[in-house]
């Protein structure tokens, strides 16, 4: 839906899932490949269990607003499936690609029994329905398999890299950026998780 080659990416999830860090990581990774990068964050509710979004705009034509207009996202990175769907409804369009973690985080009105959390299959089906390409996986479970549930975001980064949507978001740039945040074993595990993610996209 974009008029130019710039990419509009929304990272969505629940406070505490590493949303803001992931946006920053992708942004910093591609700073040498793109003239313009903006990130618009809503993190007031960040670690208080609310919905959190980061708007990431990347490209070589002038970018003004750090907030992506309605229906104008090219890629959604969903760290929680209901949040993916929520953003698809507001920012989606017929060309949108979504990468989503299927692991739910139960909102308090579901805990209290006021409303139901949708069935796993329903969520998958709806995310598929509103996306041109949808990758829905339990990245948290995969993360646990590779050593820690928090590795999920690095696997997701790998998937995004493998889809080749963001110019310059490759293994080399990812590694150079994540080095600033982690070292030793943690760094190694994150890079390994990233590569697993890249591998997952080979079928696309």
């Amino acid at each position: 839906m974009n008029k130019n080659s710039n990419k509009n990416i929304i990272i969505t999830g629940v406070g505490g899932q590493g949303n803001v860090t992931l946006a920053r990581l992708i942004g910093e990774s591609v700073i040498n490949d793109n003239k313009y990068i903006t990130i618009g964050e809503t993190f007031g509710a960040s670690q208080r269990g609310g919905s959190v979004m980061s708007h990431l705009r990347i490209g070589n034509s002038k970018i003004y607003s750090p907030v992506i207009p309605l229906k104008k996202a090219d890629l959604i990175i969903g760290l929680e499936p209901v949040e993916t769907l929520r953003v698809l409804i507001t920012y989606g369009n017929k060309d949108i690609i979504s990468v989503s973690n299927s692991k739910p985080i139960i909102p308090s009105n579901v805990l209290s029994g006021e409303v139901q959390y949708p069935q796993k299959e329903t969520l998958h089906q709806k995310i598929n329905y509103l996306s041109k390409v949808a990758i829905v996986e339990n990245f948290t479970e995969l993360g646990i398999k590779y050593g820690h549930h928090l590795l999920s975001n690095s696997i997701i980064s790998g998937v995004v890299s493998g889809l080749k949507i963001i110019k310059g978001f490759d293994q080399n740039n990812f590694t150079n950026t994540i080095k600033k945040y982690y070292s030793g074993k943690t760094l190694e595990k994150n890079i390994a998780a990233f590569l697993k993610g890249v591998k997952m996209t080979e079928i696309y």
């Binding site: 990068i37 007031g44 269990g49 607003s65 309605l70 805990l111 509103l130």
Partner: protein, 647 residues
């Protein structure tokens, strides 16, 4: 740590607006910074503090915004470039001093950076700070993007030094908390030995005493100062125009609305018809410049955040312009083209422009829209209310307080204020908070309720306030309550830091902003000295709290309960569990228990949920913080806690 002090000139970095401000402050050679934390402003002082060992800057988290501004002013009086940072409601707190500071004037450059929160993304108000600049007659600058956020700081210092006045910079959430690429400049070295000259002639701005009197004389200087400011900005390149020479429609804008306006004009292909005049100096408004633009267009649209500040100012200039021989049509908040509440965005401006130009704008695809509507109406996106984190001591505290109020059966309630614990108004805090206003106001209101006993008022009154809030503005109302023999229980939810904004230290702690040893001032010593009976409890000590709190709140005097336990996200607790929690499914009988799913439906910890197929609770181990409170509340002892093994 974000090492912005090490950036070389021309080096580019992806920077959050608040980092850009911080870099601008460092580049300007400021030697003093003070503030009180508040979203979206906190990262400025935080970043300056983190870089202080390299820059040598004195950085302080002050007790409140008024004191922050007073300390920063002292540095200016002693010939140091100095900055003070706060969120929008902070200016209300600081405004009494700010009024007098406007009269007294300043010496070396002094800047006040205020971060407003249009749409109240992380506030309990969407207060507009720009009117303070107008009311108190001080210059106001509004940067519109990330690079400008950095560059404006230097300009503001120069302006402050030229006018001998504090200069206010207004940011908004979408600038402070958004990021863009910023290029660094050189760091200016300022070396002035601090000295306060005070023995000169009373009216000498350099050597005399610094005070707001003689009032009318000083006020005259203020009026002159604003005139001087206007002429200083006459040829400034900061106010900029983008568009055709004679636009059909002129958009006058400031701050991030400039970005939204430019994008909206581009999106509608109106580049040849609409022009955008971006104002950076918005108090005093650049009158001459605006008068020039009146000659170039017949219609003006104002795009700005919160109140119609520029809109009213420009209309004033229009009314004063006797030479103008034409009528201009104005669009904005007054005409209903831009909403009066909430934040603006590109879509809002696209809608306003479509209406004005009679364009039908549509970026939708019929088939996709149908799918969206179908999905939206299929109940697959349950709302997500904010909630206390797993392991949060506030959830346990509200659990106890709610129980005690219910047991007391006098229709009791809690008066609250601002912090994570504001969520006590929501179901996750058992909806126990019934008044929420400014910092510390819960106890002030409770003090008022408590004295109504004279007229037969006998509801149980409690107030809550956080540890940082206690220092900020909780002490005065407590003294008021004690002195006037009110009846209330003040609950101080002490989670060891200013948790909501990212664990900035407060006067109760050993650390100061720069990590050097401060002198901790103990909350309980203060409350006792105020004459309030003081009880200290750990909210995770289930038994003791359940026993003591009902006793305390039933008393007919002023009591203080300090519920003390560090925040689950605090550095000392983060990623460390006290307990591993398991559910003993032999003991848990689920729906047949008679507890009405107490641990899930009532307690509402995000890490403990009811599995709809088994009808039994389940622990989400990726979320559980291992506080163990759920084990204490289970009637059947079916939730087991075992001491955790933290590597």
């Amino acid at each position: 740590m974000y090492s912005i002090s090490e950036m070389k000139p021309f080096e580019k970095k992806l920077m959050m607006g608040n980092f850009a401000f911080a870099r601008g402050i460092i580049e300007s050679g400021a030697s003093f910074a003070a503030g009180y934390p508040g979203t979206p402003s906190s990262e400025i002082i935080e970043t300056l503090a983190q870089n202080s060992s390299k820059t040598g800057m004195y950085v302080e988290w002050s007790i409140n915004e008024k004191t922050a501004l007073e300390t920063a002013a002292a540095a200016s009086f002693a010939n140091q470039r100095s900055v003070c940072v706060m969120k929008q409601n902070g200016v209300n707190v600081a405004s009494d001093f700010l009024l007098h500071l406007s009269y007294s004037g300043t010496r070396k450059g002094l800047i006040l950076i205020v971060c407003d929160d249009p749409g109240a993304l992380s506030s309990v108000n969407e207060g507009e700070s720009r009117h303070f600049a107008k009311m108190l007659e001080i210059p106001l600058l509004e940067p519109s993007d990330f690079q400008e956020a950095k560059d404006i700081v230097k300009e503001a210092f120069e302006l402050s030094e030229k006018l001998k006045s504090i200069v206010m910079i207004r940011s908004v959430t979408r600038l402070s908390h958004a990021s863009g690429i910023v290029e660094a400049n050189e760091i200016l070295k300022q070396k002035n030995p601090p000295y306060f000259h005070h023995s000169g002639f009373i009216l000498d701005p350099e050597t005399g005493p610094v005070m707001s009197t003689p009032v009318t004389y000083r006020h005259q200087l203020m009026v002159k100062r604003m005139e001087e400011c206007r002429s200083f900005f006459k040829n400034s390149s900061l106010n900029r125009y983008f568009g055709p020479d004679n636009p059909e429609l002129l958009i006058i804008t400031s701050s991030v609305d400039f970005l939204y306006s430019m994008e909206a004009v581009k999106e509608l292909n109106l580049e040849k018809k609409a022009g955008v005049l971006k104002l950076v100096l918005t108090n005093p408004l650049p009158e001459e410049l605006i008068n020039e633009y009146f000659l170039k267009t017949d219609s003006i649209l104002f795009t700005e955040q919160v109140l119609p500040f520029i809109e009213e100012g420009v209309k004033n200039i229009y009314a004063d312009n006797f030479k103008l021989d034409k009528k201009i049509k104005f669009y904005g908040k007054k005409s209903g083209h831009i909403p009066n509440t909430g934040e603006t965005d590109t879509n809002i401006i696209i809608n306003a422009l479509s209406k004005i130009f009679g364009i039908e704008y549509s970026n939708s695809d019929e088939e996709y829209d149908k799918k969206v509507i179908e999905t939206a109406f299929s109940n697959v996106t349950p709302g997500r209310e904010m909630t206390f984190c797993p392991g949060c001591p506030h959830r346990a505290s509200y659990f106890h307080l709610n129980n005690a109020i219910k047991l007391d059966s006098k229709d009791g309630f809690i008066c609250g204020d601002i912090g994570c614990y504001t969520l006590g108004m929501l179901p996750s805090g058992y909806s126990t908070l019934k008044t929420i206003h400014s910092m510390g106001s819960g106890t002030g209101i409770a003090s008022g309720f408590g004295v109504l006993k004279k007229y037969g008022f006998d509801q149980t009154v409690l107030s809550v306030c956080g540890d940082s809030t206690f220092f900020h503005s909780g002490i005065a109302p407590l003294i008021n309550a004690v002195h006037n023999k009110s009846r209330l229980t003040m609950v101080i939810l002490d989670n060891s830091g200013t948790a909501m904004t990212g664990f900035q230290p407060h006067p109760g702690e050993k650390n100061t902003a720069c990590g050097i040893n401060g002198t901790p001032v103990m909350i309980e010593e203060i409350t006792k000295a105020c004459g309030a009976k003081t009880h200290i409890l750990d909210p995770f000590n289930y038994k003791k709290c359940q026993e003591k709190i009902p006793e305390i709140i039933a008393q007919d005097n002023v009591n203080v309960i300090i519920l003390r336990h560090p925040c689950a996200l605090s550095p000392q607790r983060k990623n460390k569990k006290y307990f591993e929690i398991e559910i003993d499914y032999e003991k848990c009988v689920g729906d047949n228990c008679g507890c009405f799913n107490f641990c899930t439906k009532i307690f509402k910890c995000p890490a403990l949920f009811l599995n709809p197929s088994t009808k039994k609770p389940e622990i989400d181990k990726t979320l559980c913080a291992g506080c163990g409170f759920c084990a204490d509340i289970c009637y059947h002892n079916a939730i087991i806690k075992k001491a955790a093994d933290n590597e």
